[in-house]
């Protein structure tokens, strides 16, 4: 495990090497957070609610989306596709490391930095704007929400990693990755609660993306009961099993095709 710890540590160091870019990232995420917060605030200020959500629920939703986003989106999984295309992937094949775990811990370093500044950012903004963040009223819902968030983290990583493995079959994996990232961004509920889109909501709930942000937040906001929360967790586990299977299949078949071209 020590080698994976080093992958984590190097990733954290890299983040602090480009301090200006890091500072800009913080400004950037603050801008997006404020925009989404004020959009829902304006929509709910007249009546105190919007689309069945109270103003406080909407504020909490925006803040949780940012927290979960910082915890689930693993930027290092982007690198896998380019490593395969550029032949750098060969280095992992001769090293005593498992690429999946190495890639995961490398990304965990980015996540650790991002989650740290996101927490500070969220506390600061909620303090300045005097925003009340709701919390689950029951301990059981706290536990179920935390489990759902952890599973969302795993599911998101598996999905992005699997998409990156397309690079074994095509030198053009970045376009499909871009498409995946944007679809995932919206279909996971990062911009709006999925229930507002009417009939389209049922379609989005069939896909795995909703279970990486929207569904865990619904548990946290207690908009589902304990039974509903367990069902969500069950669906997350099924999607994790399905994506793990696909990733494993793609890895095995991809390795047979891999030529180390570009090294």
């Amino acid at each position: 495990m020590k080698k994976y710890f080093w992958a984590f540590k190097m990733s954290v160091s890299r983040e602090f090497t480009y301090r200006l870019n890091l500072a800009m990232s913080i400004f950037r995420s603050t801008t997006v957070l404020l925009l989404l917060y004020f959009v829902w605030l304006r929509l709910s200020e007249a009546t105190g609610s919007f689309a069945g959500y109270s103003a406080q629920e909407l504020s909490t939703y925006v803040f949780l989306v940012f927290f979960i986003g910082a915890f689930t989106i693993n930027p290092a999984s982007d690198k896998t596709a380019s490593e395969i295309n550029e032949g750098l992937f060969s280095l992992y094949l001769v090293k005593p490391v498992h690429h999946f775990l190495f890639s995961y811990f490398r990304g965990l370093g980015n996540i650790a930095v991002r989650i740290s500044y996101t927490i500070i950012e969220l506390i600061t903004i909620s303090f300045i704007l005097n925003i009340t963040i709701l919390t689950p009223s029951q301990l059981s819902m706290w536990v179920l929400a935390l489990i759902a968030i952890l599973l969302a983290h795993l599911l998101q990583f598996l999905m992005t990693y699997t998409t990156s493995l397309i690079a074994f079959w095509s030198r053009e994996a970045n376009g499909p990755r871009f498409l995946f990232d944007w679809f995932s961004e919206f279909a996971s509920g990062n911009f709006f609660p999925l229930t507002i889109v009417g009939g389209f909501y049922a379609v989005l709930m069939v896909l795995p993306f909703a279970y990486t942000a929207f569904a865990p937040i619904m548990i946290y906001l207690e908009r589902v009961d304990a039974g509903g929360a367990i069902k969500i967790i069950g669906i997350q586990i099924i999607w994790i099993a399905v994506t793990s299977f696909i990733a494993r299949m793609m890895w095995k078949r991809g390795l047979k095709r891999y030529t180390g071209e570009g090294i």
Binding site: N21, F27, V32, L43, P176, F178, I196, V197
Partner: protein, 259 residues
């Protein structure tokens, strides 16, 4: 004419790249379409629950969103080069650009034309015309003002791109600033009245993204004052002047590191 020929040559080379990478191109195009479609869906869905958003109707709100897309996509279509400028600086490749008998700034900004964004401009303009029809009657003078203020917006955006390029020469870290601009302009997807007054002022005077997007949209709706129009022109002039001074200072500081 010389610069147009250079741009045409660079653009045709970029087209060749996009066409030879068809899977990537389709992925990027569909990704942009998804982003656009989902936000459109969000705005339309919002109006299933309300008649007014920050004082604007559905078509008025959509006009702000589409004007943002017109400006954002239009800029990326022609000035995509800025996104690879930082890499040129870090790897010392900027030396090759400086040694060419061509304005280095012009080359750095327009070296990469995005075919996909050029294509994407067509449906955006089409929907703007559709919305303008639904907002009618709009006087022709307002349409002329809309186009004029869009042009002023493009001047400010060019200035911001020049400043980002200059900044990357100084700091070797260009991505942060250009992406900060991208996120700032994303605020203009919605009418400025969504934000509280202090933020409206910051994003009008310091990072004038509302001047680029909200001013043209308001001019089309006939709710932009003459003072605001003059302010827009002044801000564009000031930003453009500062950007050129910054660029020349940055060029003098260029160290040719890594070359």
């Amino acid at each position: 004419m010389k610069y147009f020929r250079v741009w045409r040559q660079l653009a045709s080379m970029a087209f060749g790249t996009w066409i030879s990478n068809r899977i990537d191109s389709i992925g990027y195009f569909l990704g942009k379409l998804i982003r656009f479609g989902f936000l459109l869906l969000m705005i339309i869905s919002i109006f299933n629950f309300t008649d007014s958003f920050a004082g604007y109707t559905k078509y008025e709100t959509l006009l702000f969103f589409l004007t943002f897309n017109l400006i954002d996509v239009g800029t990326q279509a022609f000035m995509r080069g800025i996104y690879i400028f930082g890499t040129d600086i870090n790897k010392g490749k900027f030396d090759y650009i400086l040694s060419r008998p061509l304005n280095a700034l012009f080359h750095s900004l327009v070296r990469l034309t995005d075919l996909l964004d050029l294509i994407f401009l067509i449906p955006i303009i089409g929907i703007i015309i559709f919305i303008t029809y639904h907002l009618s009657p709009i006087p022709p003078a307002n349409i002329l003002l809309y186009i004029t203020l869009l042009a002023i917006g493009f001047v400010i955006i060019t200035a911001i791109h020049i400043m980002a390029a200059a900044f990357s020469i100084w700091s070797f870290e260009s991505q942060g600033m250009i992406w900060f601009y991208r996120d700032a302009i994303s605020l203009t997807r919605f009418p400025p009245e969504v934000l509280p007054m202090p933020l409206q002022l910051i994003f009008t005077y310091i990072m004038p993204v509302f001047v680029m997007v909200a001013f043209p949209a308001k001019a089309l709706l006939g709710i932009l004052s003459v003072q605001s129009m003059i302010l827009g022109i002044l801000i564009a002039a000031v930003f453009f002047s500062i950007s050129l001074v910054t660029w020349h200072k940055a060029l003098r500081a260029y160290s040719s590191a890594s070359s």
